[in-house]
């Protein structure tokens, strides 16, 4: 597969360069384009070469399959598990846990953030306690959570929710604080009521910060889930990994790591999409037009 990639790619590059040379009269831009596509190609070739050498070393027996299986073996395992075994089910269970935890933690963080952002009294009552709890690395409370909730769904969802609450909370309050007071003053001059003021000015103004919080929260949610599932689970991606560990099935373990990574990338892509959609007005997100 990688061999084919290498064979095709330089040919493409040649085509791009000659096509540009003929079409464009501006030599500068042609050179720039050629250089840029070359760099792009290199940036993809480097990791491809890494994977290739991993494959070669594994096949040659330089790396024991029990340490690191060949990439092709991992792909084969993925296909086998996806068709015959419980991989889709485990994936679904993990995603559901993450989603539940995210919804609960996100709601709590958002509501607290709104309260503290708007009310000095709420800030005095809530903020210091939240900041104190935030100082604890949330994974450190895991033993306590297991004592409270046992090793089950509740414990995993709780841990995810805990990890999600703080980034959402902090960025919501921050966003509300950062709304330009001059715009709020303008809203009053235009005769907006309190609710309208919040809907038309405060929340849109706070949205960039809130979405930043969502992206952070997605990362922590995922981390929390990995830890919670590794500690003890009867299903899920983490269960798959721990189960495979008992049988020294490193191919399955590597597969679960790759799945965690892919889902993390997908979550970030969704968050970016949200930003581009909701912040189309914002010069830093909407793409200059």
């Amino acid at each position: 597969m990688s061999n084919i990639d290498q064979a095709v790619a330089p040919a493409n590059l040649d085509q791009v360069q000659t096509a540009n040379g003929q079409a464009s009269a501006e030599r500068g831009s042609t050179l720039l384009l050629g250089k840029r596509s070359l760099l792009l190609l290199l940036s993809w070739l480097a990791p491809a070469a890494l994977v290739m050498s991993w494959e070669v070393l594994a096949r040659a027996g330089w790396i024991s399959p029990q340490v690191l299986p060949a990439p092709s073996k991992v792909i084969a395992t993925a296909i086998r598990l996806a068709t015959t075994d419980s991989l889709p089910n485990d994936l679904w269970v993990s995603l559901l846990r993450a989603a539940c935890g995210f919804a609960i933690g996100g709601s709590i963080g958002f509501v607290l953030g709104i309260l503290v952002g708007f009310s000095r009294i709420a800030e005095a009552a809530i903020d210091r306690s939240v900041q104190m709890i935030r100082a604890i690395p949330f994974l450190a409370v895991l033993p306590l959570v297991i004592v409270w909730l046992g090793v089950g769904e509740a414990e995993k969802i709780f841990l995810v929710a805990l990890g999600v609450t703080f980034p959402i909370y902090i960025n919501t309050t921050l966003g509300i604080r950062q709304v330009d007071p001059k715009l709020i003053e303008l809203g009053r001059i235009q005769g907006l009521g309190s609710l309208e003021l919040i809907r038309r000015i405060v929340l849109p103004g706070a949205l960039p910060s809130i979405l930043t919080g969502v992206r952070y929260a997605l990362a922590t949610a995922w981390l929390a889930l990995v830890v919670a599932e590794t500690i003890g689970a009867q299903s899920g991606i983490g269960f798959l990994a721990m189960d495979a560990r008992e049988f020294l099935r490193t191919d399955v373990i590597v597969l679960t790591i790759v799945i965690y990574a892919l889902i993390g990338v997908a979550a970030d892509a969704i968050a970016r999409l949200l930003e581009r959609r909701l912040l189309a007005w914002h010069p830093n997100y909407g793409g200059g037009r």
């Binding site: 001059k182 715009l183 003053e185 303008l186 809203g187 009053r188 001059i189 235009q190 005769g191 907006l192 009521g193 309208e196 038309r200 000015i201 849109p204 103004g205 949205l207 912040l279 007005w281 914002h282 010069p283 037009r289």
Partner: protein, 241 residues
């Protein structure tokens, strides 16, 4: 909030847009406005000059109802509209949404469209503020103020940040808009020439009160300008002809 739609004004009757009597405004112990009296008729364009820190903007903010007052009375029939030095457009709303902010009528979009057309931006309804130049943004701010059909329009150095040519164009536009809508106008400015160009009446504020009043004669002469500058403490020895 309440919708305020102006009744068709019988333009023959002169009614005040605002009457200020014995106004007092202080920050703690520091008195900024003291026993200030002011009356602006509807359709009258008043410019307020004064050195920095003399209380011009404080007066405007008090008239706008943005700050509490410590004494006296401000009688304005309706909430005034304000245009600030910064355009204060909401970056996340399209131009027509910006103009119709606070306008609670079913045909808000049509009214915003009409107001934007009046300032020469009728084809930019769905555009975003970030695509506007400084002058265009200020024109949208004017449209937003006028769409409320105010009886009192407060302008807080709205042209100060614009380049000279744009400023002159804005002067023409404001003159036309005010002639059309006939609100009472209070323009706070540093610029003596701007005041002469636009105002029916020029006030100079000093020590928290109106110190000098100049009703513009029919012909605008450099005598008026020199006198105004002298009142502001600027002596022009070689007065331009």
């Amino acid at each position: 909030m309440t919708v305020r739609v102006a009744p068709p004004s019988s333009s023959a009757v002169i009614t005040p847009a605002v009457v200020v009597s014995n106004l007092r405004r202080a920050y703690g112990d520091r008195v900024v406005i003291d026993r200030l009296n002011l009356r602006i008729e509807r359709g009258e364009f008043v410019a307020l000059l004064g050195e920095s820190g003399c209380g011009k903007t404080t007066l405007l903010r008090a008239l706008a109802g943005l700050d509490p007052i410590q004494g006296g009375r401000i009688a304005a029939p309706r909430r005034p509209a304000v245009v600030f030095q910064e355009h204060r457009l909401l970056p996340w709303d399209s131009l027509w949404r910006n103009v119709s902010l606070g306008l609670q009528v079913p045909d808000a979009r049509e009214r915003a469209a009409a107001a934007l057309a009046e300032v020469g931006l009728g084809d930019r309804l769905d555009d975003w503020p970030r695509n506007l130049s400084g002058g265009q943004a200020q024109r949208v701010a004017l449209a937003r103020a006028l769409v409320q059909q105010p009886e009192l329009l407060l302008l807080d150095e709205p042209f100060a940040a614009l380049d000279a040519l744009t400023r002159i164009r804005m002067h023409e536009l404001v003159r036309a808009l005010v002639a059309n809508h006939r609100p009472g106008v209070l323009l706070v400015t540093h610029d003596v020439d701007e005041a002469i160009a636009l105002a029916d009446r020029i006030l100079i504020m000093r020590d928290g009160a109106i110190a000098f009043e100049h009703r513009k004669p029919d012909d605008t002469t450099s005598i008026g300008r020199t006198a105004l500058l002298a009142e502001l403490g600027v002596l022009v020895s070689h007065a331009a002809a």
